[in-house]
Assembly symmetry: C2
Homo-oligomer: 129 residues x 2
C-alpha cells in the first residue's frame, strides 16, 4: 500500500466509522478479512507466491481496498493467534460487491493457482457500523 492509497483508505474508512449503531440496517461497507495457514509455513517461497497471488485480486473492480499482512511481533498473549501465515483485508462497497468478486475469473484463477499452498482458511465478513 503506498502513501496515497493509505490516505484514501483512512478517509474512506473514517466516514464509515462515524456511523452510529442505529444505522446497522443501512447499507454498510463490507470488511472481508481472510487468514491463511500455509501447508509449508517455513517456506518463504510459498508465502511469497501466495502474497503475489493475493495482489492479483486488486484487478477485480469491486475490490475497493486490499491490504496484506504477516504475523506481527506483538506480545504473545493468550488471546493472540499468531499461527497464521498471511492475512488479507478487503473492503467492498457492499455484500453484492463481494458476490461479484467471488465469481470473478481473476478470483477463480487465484484459487486454482494458490489453493494447493494452504491447509486452512478462516474468513470473517463484517458490516461496518
Amino acid at each position: 500500500m503506498n502513501r496515497k492509497t493509505f490516505i484514501t483508505t483512512a478517509s474512506l474508512l473514517s466516514v464509515s466509522a462515524v456511523a452510529a449503531p442505529t444505522s446497522l440496517m443501512q447499507k454498510s461497507k463490507l470488511q472481508h478479512q481472510v487468514y491463511f495457514w500455509l501447508k509449508n509455513p517455513q517456506s518463504t517461497a510459498d508465502r511469497d507466491k501466495l502474497i503475489a497471488g493475493i495482489r492479483t485480486l486488486r484487478g477485480i473492480e469491486t475490490v475497493r481496498e486490499l491490504h496484506i499482512g504477516v504475523p506481527a511481533s506483538t506480545e504473545k498473549r493468550e488471546v493472540v493467534d499468531n499461527s497464521f501465515s498471511v492475512s488479507e483485508l478487503m473492503i467492498f462497497d457492499d455484500v453484492e460487491g463481494q458476490n461479484i468478486y467471488q465469481e470473478h475469473p481473476i478470483h477463480k484463477k487465484f484459487v486454482e493457482e494458490c489453493s494447493s499452498l494452504w491447509t486452512k482458511v478462516i474468513v470473517y465478513d463484517s458490516a461496518m457500523v
Copy 2:
C-alpha cells in the same frame, strides 16, 4: 539509544524483513484485528454497550484508525466464521504504538467495564506488507 529502544527497534526491523520483500527498509504498519463473542449474543443492549466501549478507544493517541463491525450477511460458506458478535480493526504505526495502547488507562478502563460482556476474544496482529 537505551537498551529498551534498541530491542524495540531490532524487533521492528525483523518484522519488516520478514514481512516485506519489496520494502525491506520500511517500518510496517500494524493491523490489530479483534473478534468478540458476547456471553449473551442475542442482547442488542450488550452489543451496543460493547460497541460504545470500543469507540472510547479512539481517545488513545497511538490508535491511527478504528473500525467497528458486526457479522455481514454474506453467503454462509464453510470457511466463513460468522459466529462472532463484534469486530474491531485498529491500525497502529508500529508494534510500539500497540504496546502503548495496551497499557493506556482508557484501554484498561474499557477492559474493566466491558470484559464481563464477552466470553471469547481472538486477536490477530498483522504487519502490513
